[in-house]
Each structure stands twice: as structure tokens, then as C-alpha cells.
């Protein structure tokens, strides 16, 4: 039986980042990934010959700059190509566009609403300030407000000091952002409904909330973070697909001496006398280690990998009520050519960016209403990109791949997800797209439809939630995943969590993996 200091369960980006930091800190580290490919939900797969898909996560912006720096990711293959625009087709045949060039964007917005063009400048400044206000919080281990330990009190005081230092105006603005609905929040700024809808769409991604539900404004900021503070200041594609990001992190981890094994499923974590001693694989093999780190979501970390009876009742109850509620699906298309959008016919720069099917707030809210009652949206919100336009290597010459992120598709569908429901969902997506790009149906060579149930089955993400649990106010910071156990530790000594189910949460951000690894190194591996 081979011996390691640390075993990381799950080769998603957070697991790999944790492993890289641990190996860099001198730990003999092993990463175990169940699937044959690394990356978890950040994978590239050639699902149909010649067509490469970023199967799940498809764009990146949040990856923390300090991680890129510390792990020297560009040297290991990280190469982000910018996503240059967002176009929203409108119901009246017109469009709303945001381009890479701010002046052009301003002129375009002016065409629809001069007021909003002015407001957008101020709004951008505010978002910048908000991102700066949140940045130190994203980089800190959450203190426990119910604890009297000196380290927690110190940390709480520091946090209080941080909020006071923001000044009342920015603190209040942050409070609004944390508590309001994205629709109400944007209503305070803008008039043009499709603009509000397109902006608020980023507030609903990965959550089971509508744009009019309080709490959705925060996710808006979460998605702005990358644009403002991320390494690339915009959304972008990784060359070779999202999986190549995971590969670059894995390469970095290996360069520090970590072992990374794929196709190795972990059955459970071995626990003796309240401390972790290693892992048992699905093959029956056991690997010993004094520290075991789970990159899986809280449900798998606490309810599957260990015996819940090893855990205090409060934690089990807390994990039991932790909300996943996967709400999104994905449709990946292999195309014989390029789609032509009615609002912008033919080829053009808009095909190198995103197309957002979010014509009005009411459209998004009604999409949510369907999901509330257990159906997928009859007219869903969709975020569409054509990666092969930016990275031609993703598809055979002259052909294309299209990635469609779709919301809402509830995990708990009435009657459950079946093959025919999946195809009906795929048909709805294509039909909705065809309203804006009528030639799409004739271009489709292959279609991959992923429901939340598929996402769960393939990646292991519980209920198919792409963030390892909703980014709702009551599941953030010191409450992520459960109060008292938000500092990456678990009640089992030597057993740690490093997935997006811990602070600061989902998206290809890596903050959870990094903070967990730094805590483990600080503890000296106990």
C-alpha cells in the first residue's frame, strides 16, 4: 500500500488547485479522479468525432489572479481568448449589443435609451466598487460569528473594520446588492427592458431563483467579479476548451510533484478513532494518507464518503437542508455551418461573442414560473456561444460547435427526467433558438442534451447544481456549506473539504481549493 501525505478526492478544478498548492507546500499529494478525464465540470470532450465540446462549463472569467500567478498557469497551458460581445435578439426583430469597444457599446445603447447609456457608466463604476468591496472577503477564510475563539473574534473585528472602512454609502450599496432581486436592483438604474433582462440573466445562472426573487442580485456581482477583478477582465474561452484549464492546473500540480490518477473512483474515506487514515477505492484497494481532502459537493463529502454517524447531528441536518436544486441544462450542437440570426443576418463579429436569449424581464420570470411548478421552461433563457469561431481547433474545417447554456431545467422535473423528456427539452431549446436563427435546424449534425440529471450522473454534482449548491445568501460565506463547518475543516480530523460547496463558491474561480489548501498547510496537516 503506497503512502501519501494528502489525497485529494475529485480532479475538478478546485481539487486540482488544492493539490497543486499542497504539493507546492511540500506535501506528497495524490489526486484521484473517477472519470477518465480531468476537470470535473471543466472538461473538454470529443463527444462526436472531430467536434470538441466544453461539455459543461464553457466560459471563464472568475479564476483568481493569485492562483494563475502562484501556479504559473500560463506556463502550463492556460491561454484565454476573449469573448468579444453579447448580442440580445429583441422581440421586434432588432437587437441589443455590447461590444468589446466601450464607445461602440455606448453608441449602441444610446440607440435604445440615452438615459441607460449614461446610467451604464455609473453602474459600471458602482460594480467596480462593489467588486473591490467583496474582493477581500472572497480571499478570506470565513470567521464563525457564533464562536468566541480569539482567531474568530479577530477575524470578525477585521471584517467589521473592513465594512466600516467602506464608508456608509458603499456599505449600503453592498447591502442592497446582497439582498435585492436583480430585477429591482436593475430597475433602479435602467429603463430599457432587454438591457435589464440581459444583465439580470447573470443573476439567475445556477440558482433556482427568478430575476424578481430577492437574493438574485448577488449572483450578478459574482459574475461581474471576473470582469472587474479577474485576470482577464472579461469572459473568455480557454484555447482547446475548458478542459485545457483543468489540464494546465494538473500540469502545475505535477510540476510540484503531485500524482494525478484518472479512472479511479473513491468508495469511501477511511476513518479510525475520529480521524481520516486514507481512502478505499471502488476496486477495493486502500490508499493511506494522513490528510484526505474532498473536492466533491457537501452531500457527497458528508453523506456518501463517510458514515453520517461519524458526524454531529447538527452537521448532518445542515447538509440535509443545504439547497442544490439544479436549475440549468446544456445543449451542445455540432453544426454544418454558421447560424444566421434574423436580427443580424449572415456572418459577423457577433458570432465570436455570446448571444443571449433574454428579450425581457417578463420572459425570464415566466421561464422561472414553469420551473417552479416542476416543468422545464417552454421558452428558456439561453446563453449561446460558438467556440469554434474563436478556436477553430474545436471543430473540423468549415464546421462548428455551439454551446447553449439553458435555464430553467429543474432537477426535480414532474414525473422525473426520462429519455423522451430529455429529447423534448432539446427540441424546445432548438425551437426557441430557431425563432431567432431560422436556419439552425438544417445545420445540426449532432446534438448532445444534458439535463440536470445528466449533469449529476456524469459529473457527480448533486442535483446537477453547477455551483455545488446554490449561491443564495443563506449559503454563502460562514454558512457555506453549513454554519460552523465553513472553514474547510470537518469534524473528522484530517478530513477536509475544498469544493465549490465551500466559500467562496462556484464558477471556475478556484478560491475554495486555494483557501482549503492554505488552511491545511497552516495546520501542519492535522
Amino acid at each position: 500500500m503506497k503512502r501519501y501525505d494528502t489525497i485529494v478526492i475529485g480532479g475538478g478544478h478546485n481539487g486540482l488547485i488544492a493539490a497543486a498548492y499542497l504539493a507546492r507546500g511540500g506535501r506528497k499529494t495524490l489526486v484521484l479522479e473517477r472519470r477518465p478525464v480531468l476537470g470535473g465540470a471543466a472538461v473538454t470532450e470529443e463527444v462526436f468525432p472531430g467536434f470538441k465540446y466544453s461539455v459543461f462549463s464553457y466560459v471563464v472569467s472568475l479564476l483568481r489572479p493569485e492562483i494563475i500567478r502562484d501556479l504559473e498557469l500560463p506556463r502550463h497551458g492556460l491561454q484565454i481568448l476573449p469573448l468579444e460581445s453579447t448580442v440580445t435578439p429583441l422581440e421586434n426583430g432588432d437587437y441589443l449589443a455590447a461590444w468589446a469597444d466601450p464607445d461602440e457599446t455606448r453608441r449602441e445603447l444610446c440607440r435604445h435609451s440615452p438615459h441607460d447609456a449614461d446610467a451604464a457608466v455609473l453602474f459600471g463604476r458602482l460594480m467596480h466598487h462593489m467588486a473591490m468591496a467583496v474582493k477581500p472577503i472572497l480571499g478570506m477564510v470565513p470567521p464563525d460569528p457564533a464562536s468566541l475563539a480569539p482567531s474568530d473574534l479577530r477575524s470578525l473585528l477585521r471584517l467589521g473594520g473592513h465594512f466600516r472602512s467602506l464608508g456608509a454609502t458603499r456599505f449600503h450599496a453592498l447591502h442592497k446588492l446582497m439582498t435585492m432581486s436583480s430585477a429591482d436592483y436593475l430597475d433602479e438604474w435602467f429603463d430599457f427592458d432587454p438591457l435589464k433582462a440581459t444583465k439580470s440573466a447573470s443573476g439567475i445562472i445556477g440558482t433556482f431563483l427568478g430575476p424578481r426573487s430577492p437574493g438574485s442580485a448577488y449572483v450578478l456581482l459574482h459574475h461581474y467579479m471576473g470582469e472587474i477583478d479577474g485576470a482577464f477582465r472579461a469572459w473568455g474561452f480557454q484555447k482547446g476548451g475548458t478542459g485545457a484549464i483543468s489540464d494546465s492546473i494538473a500540469n502545475a500540480a505535477r510540476s510540484f510533484g503531485a500524482d494525478v490518477r484518472t479512472g479511479v473512483g473513491v468508495e469511501r474515506v477511511l476513518v479510525r478513532d475520529g480521524r481520516a487514515t486514507g481512502v478505499a477505492l471502488s476496486t477495493g484497494e486502500e490508499i493511506a494518507a494522513s490528510v484526505v481532502v474532498s473536492g466533491l459537493d457537501p452531500r457527497r463529502t458528508f453523506m456518501q464518503l463517510v458514515e453520517p454517524k461519524e458526524l454531529p447531528g447538527g452537521l448532518v441536518e445542515g447538509v440535509g437542508r443545504y439547497k442544490f436544486r439544479g436549475s440549468s441544462g446544456k445543449v451542445n450542437l455540432a453544426l454544418d455551418g454558421l447560424p444566421s440570426f434574423t436580427c443580424m443576418p449572415g456572418e459577423g463579429p457577433h458570432l465570436r461573442g455570446a448571444v443571449s436569449i433574454s428579450p425581457s424581464l417578463e420572459y425570464l420570470e415566466r421561464a422561472y414560473d414553469d420551473a417552479k411548478y416542476g416543468e422545464f421552461s417552454r421558452q428558456p433563457y439561453m446563453d449561446i456561444v460558438i467556440p469554434s469561431m474563436i478556436d477553430p481547433g474545436m471543430a473540423p474545417p468549415g464546421k462548428h460547435v455551439m454551446s447553449i447554456f439553458v435555464q430553467y431545467a429543474p432537477y426535480h422535473l414532474n414525473g422525473g427526467w426520462t429519455d423522451s423528456k430529455r429529447e423534448a427539452f432539446g427540441d424546445t431549446v432548438v425551437k426557441t433558438l430557431a425563432r431567432h436563427a431560422p436556419n439552425i435546424e438544417s445545420l445540426i449534425l449532432h446534438r448532445q442534451v444534458l439535463t440536470p440529471a445528466d449533469i449529476e450522473r456524469i459529473t457527480g454534482l448533486s442535483e446537477g447544481n453547477i455551483f455545488q449548491g446554490e449561491l443564495a445568501l443563506h449559503q454563502l460565506f460562514f454558512m457555506r456549506p453549513v454554519p460552523r463547518w465553513a472553514k474547510y475543516r470537518t469534524p473528522i480530523r484530517g478530513y477536509w473539504q475544498c469544493g465549490a460547496g465551500t466559500h467562496p463558491g462556484g464558477g471556475i474561480m478556484g478560491g475554495s481549493g486555494r483557501l482549503a489548501a492554505l488552511e491545511i498547510l497552516k495546520e501542519g496537516g492535522r
Binding site: 456608509a168 454609502t169 432581486s181 437542508r321 439547497k323 443563506h474 454558512m479 460552523r484
Partner: protein
């Protein structure tokens, strides 16, 4: 020439009466102005049909904070707590009464779920404890990040109380505030009827359904001051619905407050960035260096103050306060007590009877309002105030006050509350009640519908919102009425807000008025020099 006053208080509802009395007690010469001919504001009793009276907005009279009661000598007011605070009635004899008595409630719940019955007492105890912490928060000015050092002491007291909740309840408090009442109930209970009986408390006067965030907070907010074991309501006054108004009025008079009714304010005079007095609708001018308004923020700041005196940022924020009245009232004069088959005891009619059978039905009722339409099947709940106060109706007859959500103030595509729409809503409320009270329609002597627009006209409530501003997390505490202006003094020197649109918000008798008056006193200890 009018006599001069140190302070003018606008509005003789609970907050205005309390604020005026507190100022009078401190030696201010106070003039209290009321637009109506009767005192009481939302608590006033109105004859809606010959011989039939009710205080329709005060079927739950609200919580009287102990410092207000002690400060004004109102301790003598007595409540009759409901034995049956809430009953879900879904027709065909199916009733679930959530008794205040824990074991009795558990027995009722056990018919639906053993598991839920076993969890009941712990659930109400926890809600009570968390509401108790809100109580402490509601007795002090809203804490804020730029707290003056003098207030740190009260904050430390609050922190001690918070720690006093104990580890589990401390985090539970923080967790519950932002979650939806749907999640809160789902996390605890399995039975749909039980959840449906509790949930409406979380969407009270809110244009949102039970799935919306922070409806957990709203449930807690309206439980502040509720008797142990109750999940709705704080009990009627023993001496009738006007007991509080009468007591507060005599306190105000005791402290030499001058009260004028039928005196509607048209304008608040500002000179050199400071308040100079008020102008009444009849043109009369009254001088005063302090004006404390208990009307809602929109009426006060946008209606009575010349906007030139307000900074654009402040003005913008005041314009963006969300009111969104969405509750309609239907008042019924009945020729007898409504009989509900299956009801364990007529006592249940003293509390709230709620008719929406499931969380999903409640959510669906809210969906329409999101798009500016009236619910086809509104959430209806009612109580029979004449059970407590026999004087409200002729002998043997009764008054039934039904609340219907969701009936939005603003209708989509410029729609108006015309007669067909009014009738349709009133008919759907009648039908909902008739569904559980056989022969109900034939017992109705009179029926009166008040839409949010009617409430606006009758009570001076912007958009018909009894809340004076939705109780969402971004509009409470230091955010109420406007971020950074949560401590009752407004940006114009001498202008104070002390209505439900300020901390601690609606449903708290005199709470905002009391804090606002204390702020006036703290700001102007040298008021006697005004004379």
C-alpha cells in the same frame, strides 16, 4: 395668528400619538395634526355599513414595545391572546387549528403527520426565541456602520443579547432572515397543510410569494411580541379595537399635546434648509422648527417637501422606495356567525382563518401580481372581530374582515380597478369563503371591497401599502426609509420621519414614533429657547 409650537406631529395613528405624547412629556409644546376626523390611523374603527363597524387594518393590532408602554403609562392595556391563532380550512370539513397550547396543536398536527407533531414545540420555541431577538433590535435605533460612538453601548447590549441566543440559534437567526418561508417550512415539516397554515404570515402585505427570499424574515417580523406558541397574531385588546388609540390619546393629552383633527397637511415649509412649519390644505400656516411626520416616506418627502431642498441622490433613493400595495380587504356584514363544518371550536374564528390549501397555491396566487394582474384565486384569510368586541355589530350579527392577496395597486398595460374588476375580485373572495362556509353568500347583508387604491384614498397610504414600504431586507433597519437615513432625522434640519416607513417598521405600535421622538429630543435639548 396661531399659537406657536415647538413641534408639529403629522398623523394621529399609533406612531403620531406616541411621538406627540413623548415630545409633550419632554416639555415640547406639540401640535398633533390629523387629516381625518377620528384618531387612530390604521387602527381607527370605521362604520362600513349601517350598524357594522371594524378596524379592518388592525385585525392584528400589532406589538406594543414595552419601553413605549412604560414610557407613556400604557401598561394597563390588556390583551386577550387567541387560543387558536390560526386555522387552515380547506372545505369538506377539513380544518387544521394551530393552537397556542403546544400539546393541543401537536394533537391536531398528529392527524396529518407524527413527525411534524413531534417537531412542533421546538419549531414554535425557536421562532419565539428568534422573534425575541428582533424585539431587542426593534427597541433601539437601527444600528449602522457609521454608528456614532455614543450608540455603541446599545449595540454592545444587542451583541450580548445575540450571543445570548446560544450558538445554534445565533446562526439559525442569520440563516432564516434571507431564506424563503417555503424553504424554512420545507426544512422542518413534511405535511402540506401544516406548511400552508403557517406560510401566509411570511408574505403578509408583500408582493411576493412564499418562494421569495426573505419571506422567512417577514414571518418573524410579524411574530414579534406574539404570545408563546402562536405562529400568527398578537391577540386583540381586551377593551375593544380602540383601546390603544384611546389610551394613547389620553397620554398625549396628559402631556398637553394639542390635537387637531380634520387638518390635512398640504406642505412642509422649509426656509434656509431648515423646517419652518407646515401649511394646511385650507391655507393656514403653522410655524414650528420641528416637524415629525408619521405619514409614509413618499407622502412626506415627495408630496409635502419642495424637492429643491433635497439632494438628488436622496431624492432618487426616496423615489425608489417600493410600496407595492397588493392586499385588498373585503368587509362583510353578516346576519350571524359563519359556521365552518369541521371546526373544532368557534374560538378559531377569533384568530386568523386561512383558506389557501398549499404552498403552491399561495405561490400561484402571487404569480399574477408579478405581471400586474389580479390573482384568479387569491389567497384569502379572514377573522371575525365581532367575536371579541360585541359592539362592532348589532346583537346576533357579525363582522367578517377578509384579506385578499394578491390585488396589485398597479395593473398591467394601464388597467384600472373598474367595476367589473372590483366585482370579480369581491366575488372570488366570497366564493372562497363560501367554499368553506356553506350558505355564506345568503348570510351577507353588506359587502364592501377596499382595493389598494381605496386604502390609499381612505388612509393616505401610498399605493395602498399598509407597510409604508415593503418589508424586504433592503428596506428594513438602517435601510428604512432610505439607506443611511434610518435614524429618523431627514436631510432637512428639523424634519423627522416616525411612521411605519421607518425603523422598526409596520405592525409595531408606536415603535417608530417613539424612536423618532427620542431623536428629536436628543437633537434639540435646548428647545425651550424657541419660545
Amino acid at each position: 395668528m396661531s399659537p406657536s409650537f415647538d413641534a408639529v406631529v403629522i398623523g394621529a395613528g399609533a406612531n403620531g400619538l406616541v411621538a406627540a405624547a413623548v415630545l409633550g412629556r419632554a416639555g415640547f409644546r406639540v401640535l398633533l395634526l390629523e387629516r381625518e376626523h377620528a384618531l387612530g390611523g390604521q387602527g381607527r374603527v370605521i362604520e362600513f355599513a349601517p350598524g357594522f363597524r371594524a378596524a379592518p387594518l388592525a385585525t392584528d393590532p400589532g406589538w406594543l414595545p414595552p419601553p413605549v408602554a412604560h414610557g407613556l403609562g400604557l401598561e394597563g392595556l390588556r390583551r386577550v391572546p387567541h387560543d387558536a391563532p390560526v386555522t387552515l380550512v380547506t372545505g369538506s370539513g377539513k380544518c387544521l387549528t394551530l393552537w397556542r397550547d403546544g400539546s393541543r396543536a401537536a394533537d391536531a398536527i398528529r392527524k396529518h403527520s407524527d413527525r411534524d407533531a413531534a417537531r412542533w414545540r421546538a419549531f414554535t420555541a425557536r421562532l419565539g426565541k428568534l422573534a425575541g431577538f428582533l424585539e431587542a433590535l426593534y427597541e433601539i435605533p437601527a444600528p449602522d456602520v457609521d454608528l456614532p460612538t455614543g450608540d455603541l453601548l446599545s449595540l454592545l447590549g444587542l451583541a450580548r443579547k445575540f450571543r445570548g441566543l446560544g450558538r445554534d440559534d445565533m446562526t439559525e437567526f442569520l440563516r432564516i432572515l434571507p431564506i424563503s418561508v417555503w424553504e424554512l417550512l420545507d426544512d422542518t415539516f413534511e405535511n402540506g397543510s401544516l406548511k400552508a397554515a403557517i406560510a401566509p404570515g411570511g408574505v403578509r402585505d408583500l408582493r411576493q410569494g412564499p418562494r421569495s427570499g426573505a419571506t422567512g424574515f417577514v414571518l418573524l417580523h410579524y411574530l414579534v411580541g406574539a404570545p408563546a406558541g402562536a405562529v400568527r397574531g398578537r391577540g386583540a385588546w381586551r377593551d375593544g379595537p380602540e383601546a390603544f388609540t384611546r389610551a394613547a390619546e389620553s397620554a398625549a393629552k396628559r402631556h398637553r399635546v394639542t390635537i387637531r383633527t380634520g387638518a390635512a397637511v398640504a406642505r412642509i415649509q422649509v426656509r434656509e434648509e431648515a423646517v419652518a412649519g407646515v401649511v394646511l390644505a385650507n391655507g393656514e400656516e403653522i410655524e414650528a422648527k420641528r416637524v415629525l411626520s408619521t405619514a409614509d416616506p413618499a407622502r412626506t418627502l415627495l408630496g409635502w417637501v419642495d424637492p429643491v431642498w433635497l439632494d438628488p441622490e436622496f431624492l432618487h433613493a426616496a423615489q425608489k422606495i417600493r410600496y407595492r400595495g397588493c392586499t385588498a380587504l373585503v368587509l362583510y356584514a353578516l346576519d350571524g356567525l359563519p359556521e365552518i363544518p369541521g371546526l373544532a371550536s368557534p374560538d378559531a374564528l377569533r384568530g386568523v382563518v386561512t383558506l389557501t390549501p398549499s404552498l403552491e397555491a399561495l405561490e400561484k396566487a402571487a404569480d399574477a401580481a408579478k405581471y400586474g394582474s389580479v390573482s384568479d384565486r387569491p389567497h384569502v384569510e379572514f377573522s371575525v372581530p365581532s367575536m371579541h368586541a360585541t359592539g362592532l355589530a348589532p346583537a346576533g350579527k357579525h363582522v367578517l374582515v377578509a384579506r385578499a392577496q394578491y390585488a396589485p395597486y398597479r395593473l398591467r398595460d394601464g388597467g384600472t380597478w373598474d367595476e367589473p374588476r372590483r366585482d370579480a375580485l369581491a366575488d372570488s373572495v366570497t366564493a372562497a369563503i363560501a367554499n368553506v362556509v356553506p350558505g355564506f353568500a345568503s348570510r351577507v347583508l353588506h359587502r364592501v371591497l377596499w382595493t389598494p387604491g381605496d386604502l390609499e384614498a381612505r388612509y393616505g397610504l401610498t399605493e395602498g401599502a399598509a407597510t409604508h414600504g415593503e418589508t424586504t431586507l433592503d428596506q428594513i433597519l438602517f435601510m428604512r426609509p432610505v439607506a443611511g437615513w434610518g435614524r429618523h432625522a431627514m436631510p432637512i434640519r428639523g424634519l423627522y420621519l416616525g411612521g411605519a416607513g421607518t425603523h422598526p417598521g409596520p405592525g409595531i405600535l408606536g415603535g417608530p414614533g417613539w424612536l423618532a421622538a427620542r431623536r428629536v429630543i436628543a437633537d434639540g435639548g435646548n428647545h425651550r429657547r424657541d419660545r
